[in-house]
Symmetry: C2
Subunit: 333 residues, 2 copies
């Protein structure tokens, strides 16, 4: 493997000059530069980024800490779309991505900081992490630049990108109300998700603004899972048959509700209106197709990467970004 030393020898200059020539410094004779470039090409030279990282103390890599990369997380293409967005943004930069394999199991008991420091990543993007995840605290405490997806938390080195979950939930509930519904239940994810907390707030605010009372009994958690949502929906609808519409904090759960409704013989949307959240691919393909609040997941990832890179290059002081949601009306409402 060719090194700048080889090039220096062949071109009859010093390694210093080679380095400067190849890195586009101005204080090098155009002729010398040209010759060096030719030799480099001739010798099929590739710079060694490892060596460069060592001396520069910058690796030009972004660490990705992504949960739900297991066999189960696959149904929901949320994570993947975010990943694609991150990938796209970093493709236009000079940063590469390193995917930390974080199986919570295993002796993989390395802390977040250890992971990052060992690999010398310049910054990190965290996605799909729960608010009580021990990693999260570490992020805030560490001095490694970091962007969180869907957890609004900010500091000198921490930024975030998310959608307006309160507003999104409101849109969903207002839509149900505008369809004439008054008895609107909600199936939420779990308390450890920031988005759940906010979507609940949006739900309550929408009810309030329309002079509808909030029934604590009509609020249940489905843990963001289809099966679980189906189960709790059955129970809920049997106990409170007066419920005419359900707002779900995720499409996957809404799919579960659809199943529950079918099982109970309630027609959609006549006997029961259902609206989800996310607009995952499945939402458009289910029968009936699912009304939902669309999040631009790709953009979520894209902006997260842009934000982080800007932080790394010291460009901006704004460390957060809120992305719009969109109401998508389909057959289920």
């Amino acid at each position: 493997m060719t090194t700048i030393k080889d090039i220096a020898r062949v071109a009859g200059v010093s390694v210093t000059t080679v380095s400067r020539a190849l890195n586009g410094y101005s204080d090098v004779n155009p002729k010398t530069r040209k010759r060096i470039q030719e030799v480099a090409k001739e010798l099929n030279y590739s710079p060694n980024t490892v060596a460069r990282s060592l001396v520069m103390k910058k690796s030009k890599t972004i660490g990705l800490l992504v949960s739900d990369m297991n066999r189960e997380g696959v149904k929901d293409n949320f994570t993947f779309e975010v990943l694609c967005g991150i990938n796209e943004a970093s493709a236009y930069s000079e940063y590469d991505l390193v995917l930390f394999s974080t199986t919570s199991s295993k002796q993989n008991e390395k802390t977040y900081t250890q992971l990052c420091r060992e690999r010398r990543v310049d910054g990190v993007i965290l996605q799909g992490i729960k608010t009580d995840d021990p990693y999260l605290q570490e992020v805030v405490d560490s001095d490694i630049p970091c962007v969180l997806v869907d957890i609004p938390m900010e500091s000198q080195t921490v930024g975030y990108v998310t959608t307006d979950n309160i507003d999104g939930a409101k849109k969903a509930v207002n839509h149900l109300i505008s369809c004439g519904h008054k008895n609107i239940a909600m199936i939420n994810g779990h308390e450890k998700a920031d988005v759940s907390i906010r979507r609940l707030r949006g739900y309550r605010e929408a009810l309030e603004q329309n002079d509808l009372t909030f029934h604590p009994d009509w609020l249940v958690n489905g843990d963001f899972k289809e099966d679980e949502a189906e189960k709790v929906a059955k129970k809920l609808l049997k106990q409170y048959p007066e419920i005419s519409a359900i707002f779900c904090a995720s499409d996957l759960m809404a799919l579960g509700v659809l199943k529950a409704a079918k099982w109970l013989g309630r027609k959609i949307p006549e006997d029961l209106a259902v609206i989800g959240y996310d607009d995952i691919t499945l939402a458009a393909y289910s029968t009936p197709s699912l009304s939902t609040i669309r999040q631009d997941k790709f953009n979520l990832g894209f902006e997260a990467a842009v934000l982080l890179i800007d932080m790394l290059e010291g460009k901006k002081q704004i460390h957060s970004r809120i992305i719009d949601t969109e109401l998508i009306i389909r057959e289920s409402t």
Copy 2:
């Protein structure tokens, strides 16, 4: 940031001893080792893998060259599942993954080899690459250990993992035949995909073995796209109304065929039977749900990573792995 030098100073030994102690060499006094470990912990030491990589000429990273990580590739969770499998396998190893951001556009005109050499990855996994992709030739020519997903190509440094596409296609067609169909068309992907070539072969062999004649006109390409498949299916079915069943080389295309059938007023499966390939998430959720040939995509990725790691550690001489497929019968047949 603490280095072994710091540890050496505090512990009153040389850096060599620190290195050996921390790396678990046997020729070091247990007491010395203990003290060094304590100091390391106390100083909150993390090894610098960059420095280690430089001297060892091994980075303990695997490069991922994945196409379809763009906004469009999202519907199809194939890529993501493969990725999850790779991630899982590498989580149990000491390798991390670096995702090469390969937008074919942009000045990103770095060759495959350059990408790999610059980042000093130990090996690479390629997924979603076409047979005429210039990268592919480079792989074979380069000496970087590499595992291909779904391209059977083997050499000293190149291995692959795939499913038995001929057999899978046969299963699909035989299933249609066992349902009583005789006029079976095929919508294939494109000629640049090895899987297409093989699935076509399976289709033809199954016909042959059942004394059915192969009609070249009943074979069209849908480019693995839903829209395209819908378009060509409409045309095909109008021109040859005698066709009673269609075998599609991917579920996404089968979904397109479903739409075409609906548009033409042909009931499924009574008027037209459709079978896909892959078993993507959507297949189970569409109406009617889609019969298909399931590929264990997660396992495809998992085995690819295992294979590569084994190659890197010089463990095996077998460089390929064929994974079984499974016929999934649903409502569309």
